[in-house]
């Protein structure tokens, strides 16, 4: 009995420490985010968006849209991208070997004409079958290629992009009219320093979308989606903003991000052999820029610039979380030399360890933590005191932090207008701890298991034998430099 007790106690203490540190970390993030968001909200009174729209100096952007079997949404997605309020931008759709009517819909809607577009060759990709330009919208290109996965499609886009800045976007992401202007702002303020920028991704379920434009904001009906809304608040609104202050932004969502094309090219583009291609790219960008020696920034814009559809059924959610966790794990493994490496700056010393301990390994503790402690207490292995403290740091603090996140959203961005919405969100913030968090942690654990087993579910072909993209310098090379 005592051995079992000892084990239970051991695990419980680990769980306690984990939750305590996590909560403290989030508390710090919340305070940091509070300041930033306050400043940002006040900045809206003098944000020179109109001037940026009119100015010939505002850098032109190439928007890259990889598409695979998106026939229902593709035309309205492209329409809304073309409609974005921006002085000069082009839209490049990369049809990644769709087996449905994606290309046909585009052809019909935009009057495509074949043009042999010249492509750069620095980043190796699967062959492009054909390229088209729209007769009605001369800033719209459609490239048709054999299926090779999202990374490969994006790399083709990089090779095709005309402008120095590229915006990477998902087919099901919905942007606000000013999104491009807002996300280019860091580049406008510090043109030499900023290499990449991401923005807040919000959940579109429950919002009214008309022809690809957001017309009304609202909370989703589905419980699952509501849980995700509050989760996104905590992770995005708070976590990312805090990391931005440290120049340790690791995740620029694949759904929406802007990069300097030349730098992405310099690191070899997106990697095709990982499902976490977006995190992997950002980590490689950090490594490359640090090695180069010049000061740089990878920024995060606290504006809600992008809205995506969240999974409303368990199967899709599970798939998504497993994939995220695998991608994170793959990236952490590839760049393990950077973890706790002082030469890697805030990325190595704060961001990567944080993601390793709290996001990656943390899923295990999230899953077993509360149940183990509960059982331990019931079996008498732990005192009531311990149990209460544990509850305080795990559940109560988390609820507090969720409410703080809602508060921040309310004070800064204010997309949800109804008092009942706020109350509802708060309720879900409480309920989250009674099953939702454990469930997503479970999916995450499965993702870790998948990684261990090296199963590849994402569904694209692995291109063996193709020239590998150039790797960033290895740790040893860095040490020599």
């Amino acid at each position: 009995m005592s051995v079992v007790h000892a084990i239970l106690r051991g695990v419980s203490w680990v769980a306690l420490v984990y939750f305590a540190v996590l909560s403290l970390a989030y508390l710090t993030f919340t305070l940091v985010a509070w300041r930033r968001l306050g400043a940002h909200r006040r900045a809206r009174k003098y944000l020179p968006l109109d001037e940026m729209y009119a100015s010939p100096f505002t850098p032109p952007i190439s928007v890259l849209l990889p598409a695979f079997n998106e026939e229902t949404e593709i035309v309205s997605s492209v329409d809304s991208l073309l409609d974005l309020r921006y002085p000069r931008h082009e839209v490049i759709v990369i049809n990644d070997g769709s087996t449905d009517g994606t290309l046909e819909r585009l052809r019909a809607a935009f009057d495509l004409a074949p043009v042999r577009k010249a492509l750069r060759t620095r980043i190796a990709t699967a062959p492009v079958r054909a390229s088209y330009i729209s007769r009605t919208h001369p800033n719209l290109w459609v490239l048709d290629k054999e299926n090779g996965g999202k990374s490969d499609a994006l790399n083709v886009g990089m090779n095709a992009a005309t402008h120095a800045h590229v915006c990477v976007i998902d087919a099901d992401a919905v942007l606000e009219q000013d999104s491009l202007l807002r996300i280019i702002k860091p580049f406008v303020d510090d043109p030499e320093l900023v290499a990449a920028a991401g923005g807040i991704v919000r959940i579109a379920n429950g919002c009214v979308i008309d022809s690809g434009l957001l017309v009304k904001f609202g909370l989703p009906q589905s419980s699952l989606a509501r849980f995700q809304v509050i989760e996104y608040f905590r992770a995005f609104l708070i976590g990312r903003i805090a990391f931005d202050s440290l120049n340790g932004v690791l995740i620029i969502s694949g759904a929406f991000g802007v990069f300097k094309r030349a730098i992405v090219e310099a690191v070899g583009g997106y990697a095709r052999d990982t499902v976490g291609e977006d995190i992997d790219l950002v980590v490689r960008l950090h490594r490359y820029l640090r090695t180069r020696g010049d000061d740089y920034r990878i920024r995060f814009v606290p504006d809600p610039v992008c809205w995506t559809e969240a999974p409303e059924d368990l199967a899709t959610l599970s798939h998504q979380r497993r994939r995220w966790q695998r991608g994170l794990g793959e990236t952490l493994w590839r760049h393990r030399s950077q973890i706790a490496n002082p030469r890697a700056g805030a990325v190595g010393l704060v961001a990567l360890p944080y993601f390793l301990l709290f996001e990656f390994l943390g899923s295990i503790l999230q899953l077993v933590g509360i149940p183990v402690v509960l059982v331990s207490w019931l079996l008498g292995a732990l005192s009531v005191q311990f149990f209460l403290v544990f509850l305080a740091v795990s559940v109560l603090l988390s609820v507090l932090l969720s409410i703080a996140a809602i508060m921040l959203e309310e004070y800064s961005v204010q997309r949800y207008k109804r008092a009942s919405d706020i109350a509802l969100l708060a309720l879900y913030g409480v309920l989250e701890n009674l099953g939702y968090r454990q469930m997503t942690a479970f999916f995450g654990c499965r993702g870790v298991v998948d990684l261990m087993r090296r199963r590849h579910e994402w569904g694209e072909m692995r291109r063996r034998g193709l020239e590998r993209p150039e790797e960033a310098p290895s740790a040893r090379e860095q040490a020599r430099a």
């Binding site: 729209y53 100015s55 022809s211």
Partner: protein
Amino acid sequence: MNEPEAARDLPLVLAADDDEDILELLVFRLERSGYSVLQARDGEEALELAREAKPDLAVIDVTMPKLDGFELTRRLRAEEVTRRMPIILLTARTQDADLERGFDTGADDYLRKPFSPQELSARVHAILGRR
């Protein structure tokens, strides 16, 4: 509601812009200048109104959602009922390329933003006076 053109006592102008403020300013100025005004907030609405009511002139913003000013101009030029309707495009200041495109698609005149309401009514008057 198709009014026979001869029975109209005031010339009918279609104003299309997605920006509420600009639309208001346009409508106010045009009404004060003695025109009857139809309002549209996006390209599709504008197209429908143009087909139904056959206005004597259209003032169209270049950057509208759903159907931008250029596309709208092209469509209006392609249809029999609206083929000869004069079109003035409202365009943001520095887009020279826009002007080329505008004239290519068939617009008659353009006005840069920020715009002068005086100039607008002067141009409208000039075009409608000629007809």
